[in-house]
Amino acid sequence: MTPTVRDVLQGCVAALSRPVAPEAGPDYAASRVGIVSMLTMMAAAEAERCAGAAIKENADIRAAFADVPADYDASLAGRLSAAAREVDEDLDVPALDAVNARLRDLLIELHQAVEAAGDAATDANILALYVRMAAGRRM
């Protein structure tokens, strides 16, 4: 997911290490420190939970792939079936994010196929999955 915790903290360090332009004034500088403080606290919370959130979302997407009716095109069905059998083995956050990106791309492709087929039941399942995915990333 972007920005990553690394991105956020890198930005916090950059913001604190660069002087604020003199024309900006003290109120602006104080506000900037306030935002950086808040981002730092949120990054701490995100660092604790982001691996778990990614693992859970990846599992949820794979479960959705496993539930898809078999009558979609063979290429897509084969890739869905293969992805549904995978498990997250590398639990480093960048590795989990890379797998998540691949699963999300496949989910987009699946949803397009579902819409084209007019498969309302699978569509409803995917929309419910989206609600869970968004809730799982809530900050």
């Binding site: 997911m1 920005p3 332009a21 024309e23 808040m38 498969d119 609600v131 809530r138 900050m139």
Partner: protein, 338 residues
């Protein structure tokens, strides 16, 4: 030693006004991620002018044309909408190196963070009526008669939705860094179920929401701000944006932290003379969340491309984007079955 920012600004204004100018109380205002915003006093010929400078930043949330913002302000200043008076448009940058414009400063007003709880109490309802009536008056104006028509494209009434959706979908295509299935699904659903043509063409403020105005603390708006995404289009676009759950200050009963949704729409209809078609509005409500997500995706990219230098871009591209995804997913599941 190079001239300070204030000295360069003074030199520019001295040239523009034909006399010596001194700059006092210069300070940058927080927020305004798409323009650097400064407040200052210009003292010239014994007179003190309270002013605001809006300068293009090296990187911004959204690519906007400062001429549009300037002409939008010009379109509504003194015409029943509390738009600050635009004064100077500098398209090359001159002494300040990047394009900017200067407008009159409205003092004595307060703004609110869109994320603070109940920021308008105890005058929320009164302020809400002013807020939605003001938007209704913007919608009622004929854009063909206003200065903005000189710089803004005028779409056909049945093309408003497509132009906006294409634009923001292109932003997502260009700036997405991690696949976003929820907003992609919303875009497809919007394309599959287009709204009816706009009932009239109107000036669309583009970012009319809680937090983008100054109020007097007693229920009255004293300045409508941030016209940088102004364009001509379907007036329902602005109303839907103002009502997006993102701007509700965490509330469920009141939109924009001010009024129940039905009351807000009634005030807008009364002021605009227009009617809100529920089916058309459902489309524009989902579109508002797509547009929001496009802006947050873009801000995440600019945060990264800009060397992680602007913390507010990080907040938008991270925290706000997550909340927008929840709003999008709820709308799709509850109101957009296949």
């Amino acid at each position: 030693m190079s001239a300070t920012f204030a000295e360069r600004l003074a030199a520019y204004l001295a040239r523009a006004w034909g006399g010596p100018v001194t700059i006092e109380a210069l300070a940058r205002i927080s927020g305004g991620a798409s323009r650097e915003t400064y407040r200052f006093d210009a003292v010239t010929a014994g007179a003190r002018k309270p002013l605001i400078l809006r300068r293009d930043p090296p990187g911004s949330l959204i690519e906007t044309d400062r001429r549009l913002e300037f002409m939008a302000l010009k379109s509504f200043h003194g015409r029943g909408v509390a738009a600050p008076e635009p004064l100077i448009l500098e398209r090359e940058g001159a002494e300040l190196e990047r394009p900017f414009f200067i407008m009159a400063r409205v003092d004595g007003g307060a703004t609110a963070s869109p994320f603070s709880p109940d920021p308008y109490a105890p005058h929320a309802a009164e302020l809400g009526r002013d807020f939605f009536a003001t938007l209704g008056r913007i919608a009622a104006a004929d854009p063909a008669t206003l200065p903005i028509a000189d710089v803004a494209e005028t779409p056909a009434p049945d093309a408003c939705w497509r132009r906006e959706l294409d634009y923001w979908a292109d932003v997502i295509d260009a700036d997405e860094q991690h696949p976003q299935p929820i907003v992609r699904a919303a875009i497809r659903r919007l394309r599959a179920h287009p709204p009816p043509p706009a009932q009239k063409l109107a000036v669309v403020h583009g970012d009319y929401r809680s937090g983008n105005f100054l109020h007097d603390g007693a229920g009255r708006i004293v300045a409508v701000l941030d016209w940088e995404m102004a364009h001509i289009g379907d007036p329902l676009e602005d109303l839907a944006w103002a009502l997006d759950p993102l701007w509700r200050h965490g509330e469920t009963e009141r939109v924009a932290g001010m009024l129940p949704k039905a009351d807000a729409i009634a005030v807008w209809e009364d002021a605009s003379g227009l009617k809100v078609d529920p089916e058309a509005f459902r489309w524009w409500e989902l579109f508002a969340s797509v547009k929001g997500q496009a802006i947050w995706i873009s801000s995440a990219k600019e945060y990264r491309d800009g060397g992680f230098s602007e913390p507010v871009l990080c907040f938008s591209g991270w925290v706000t984007a997550r909340r927008q995804d929840e709003i999008l997913a709820a709308q799709l599941a509850e109101r957009w079955p296949l």
